[in-house]
């Protein structure tokens, strides 16, 4: 799986969670794209167990979407915040290669007025 490679860097900041992953959490329910994670502080230290966060996975890897096109504004709209900003992958869980394509597609869509530069689409 693609997020296997991501695991070590996450484990560095969120050490307590890696042990808690085994309990009652079969791999089956992980690939649900949660949008943004629940808004906990990124570093919680020892109290990290209280916030039980779902492991984020890349939507494009899971659903095997390879074609990230600027014309598909509905898909791109899921990765744009209310303000019109591109949502960082730390919040969405998109992997680096896909985020790269995604951000350039969003920028192209903005240029042709399919997505707003700022604010909501009028």
């Amino acid at each position: 799986m693609a997020d296997e490679t991501k695991a070590p860097e996450q484990a560095a900041t969120e050490r307590p969670r890696s042990e808690g992953r085994g309990e009652g959490r079969p791999g089956g329910d992980r690939p649900r794209f949660g949008g943004r994670g629940p808004g906990g502080p990124p570093r919680e230290g020892a109290g990290g167990r209280k916030f039980f966060r779902r492991k984020k996975v890349c939507k494009f890897c899971v659903e095997r979407i390879e074609d990230i096109n600027y014309k598909d504004y509905r898909l791109l709209g899921q990765f744009v915040a209310e303000s019109g900003k591109i949502v960082p992958r730390r919040l969405t869980g998109v992997c680096a290669p896909h985020q790269h394509r995604l951000s350039s597609a969003i920028k192209q869509a903005r240029n042709i007025a399919l997505l707003p530069f700022a604010g909501r689409a009028s």
């Binding site: 009652g24 390879e66 014309k71 192209q108 240029n111 042709i112 007025a113 997505l115 689409a121 009028s122």
Partner: protein
């Protein structure tokens, strides 16, 4: 130099269908003259713009897929720029992306064929592995 480009442009919403057809046909005629050929023309219809462009809030989107080199694009963009009803346009080179997608598709198809026979065997081994964490 054979490259594929995609030109998307927006014309003002109050344009009539005949005028739009006329505009598209003139653009289409300009492509072979510059040494390219038209692959596809698609009228994507009227759509609300995400932001106001020249005080318009709606626009008619048209997509034009063209094969050819730089001179073709240069000529088309020049024409779009001087055409009054065209309010915005975007050119994207798509041949390399198409190549990449075709490669991925071929790879996936090949993998599917290989995994067709041992699929039953791998499912059996995967099922108990997935269940064990649930029962603990």
């Amino acid at each position: 130099m054979n490259r594929t480009y995609e030109l998307m442009f927006i014309v003002r919403p109050d344009m009539t269908d005949e005028d739009l057809d006329k505009l598209i046909s003139t653009l289409q005629a300009a492509v072979p003259a510059a040494g390219g050929n038209v692959v596809k023309i698609e009228k994507m219809g009227k759509r609300r713009l995400a932001y106001a462009v020249r005080r318009f809030h709606d626009g008619i989107y048209v997509l034009l897929v063209v094969e050819g080199g730089g001179p073709v694009i240069h000529e088309l963009e020049r024409r779009l720029r001087v055409t009054e009803p065209v309010i915005k346009f975007l050119t994207v080179r798509i041949d390399e992306e198409q190549k990449r997608l075709a490669k991925i598709k071929a790879l996936r198809d090949a993998r599917k064929k290989v995994s067709a026979q041992p699929a039953a065997a791998s499912e059996e081994t995967a099922a108990p592995a997935a269940e064990t964490p649930a029962t603990v």
